[in-house]
Amino acid sequence: MLAVQEIESLIARVKRGESSAFSSLIRVHLRAAYLTALAIVGDPSDAEDVVQDAFVKAFERLESCREPRRFSGWLLRIVRNHAINWSKHRRFCEIGTRNVARVSENYPPKIADLKLRKRLIDSLAHLTPIEKEVVLLHDLEEWKHAEIGEALDISELMCRQHLFAARKKLRAQLNMEISQEVKKNGK
């Protein structure tokens, strides 16, 4: 995570139209935004589409970000709302990326990753949306509890509780899957 002053400076440069500042700001926040979208839509390719649309929306209305120091939280709220709307209306929603090739069409994911990824995604499905966001932002994006709390508008204590619950459920789910595989292979 960049320092607050660096983020504020990047935002100011984006508002002035500096193209390089767009890429820098996106690079810093894209993974957290992707993980937030993944927590809600549950599919990596869909999460990529959702996050692209959400970023476009965010940059169009950058002036409505009143506190640049809270840009991450503001951005994740846009991603979250967009992902929720997308999930509700997935059959009818005209995703902007339909006019643009999906990333997965140009760069299909490597096969070795798919099985492991599917196992984790199936396990994550047993968590609540906020547990998913917390565990992904903490364990994968390595955000601190204070940062997650501010972005998700929850206390640090709640963040720790959600993380504990998430890890417990994930472990139980993954252990169950492993036992089932062992039984299946043992037959």
């Binding site: 139209g17 996050v51 692209q52 902007g96 760069y107 995604i121 504990f164 472990r171």
Partner: protein, 114 residues
């Protein structure tokens, strides 16, 4: 309270660097284009707004100037224009009140006569 981290790295989208960079470029290009379109629409709206605001300001100034140049009527003239009977006007502007019967007579009828 916290148990050990679970290895979620298979979900990390940046593990495939080439793919990740492609996603960043794709998002950047779309975001830059969208923002430029939005800014140009706003610019056009502002360009139209300026003459509209100028016209509205001119109309407001003309109204204020016109109102200030219109001579003020005296109280008597105002009452006369409102067709209030002259006797009532004289009493009223002098700060007096006429008896009710006289007011009624002036206004056009012998009210209260039994």
């Amino acid at each position: 309270m916290e148990s050990n981290k679970i290895d979620l790295s298979p979900l990390d989208p940046s593990r495939d660097q080439e793919r990740w960079n492609y996603l960043i470029e794709s998002v950047s290009t779309r975001a830059i284009d969208a923002r430029r379109r939005r800014m140009s629409i706003n610019f056009k709206l502002i360009a139209w707004a300026r003459p509209a605001i100028a016209l509205a300001s001119a109309a407001a100034i003309i109204s204020v100037v016109g109102a200030s140049l219109t001579p003020k009527q005296s109280e008597l003239e105002r009452f006369a224009n409102a067709k209030v009977p002259r006797m009532l006007t004289v009493w009223t502007t002098a700060g007096k009140t006429a008896p009710a019967a006289i007011i009624l007579e002036i206004l056009g009828g012998k009210y209260g006569s039994k």
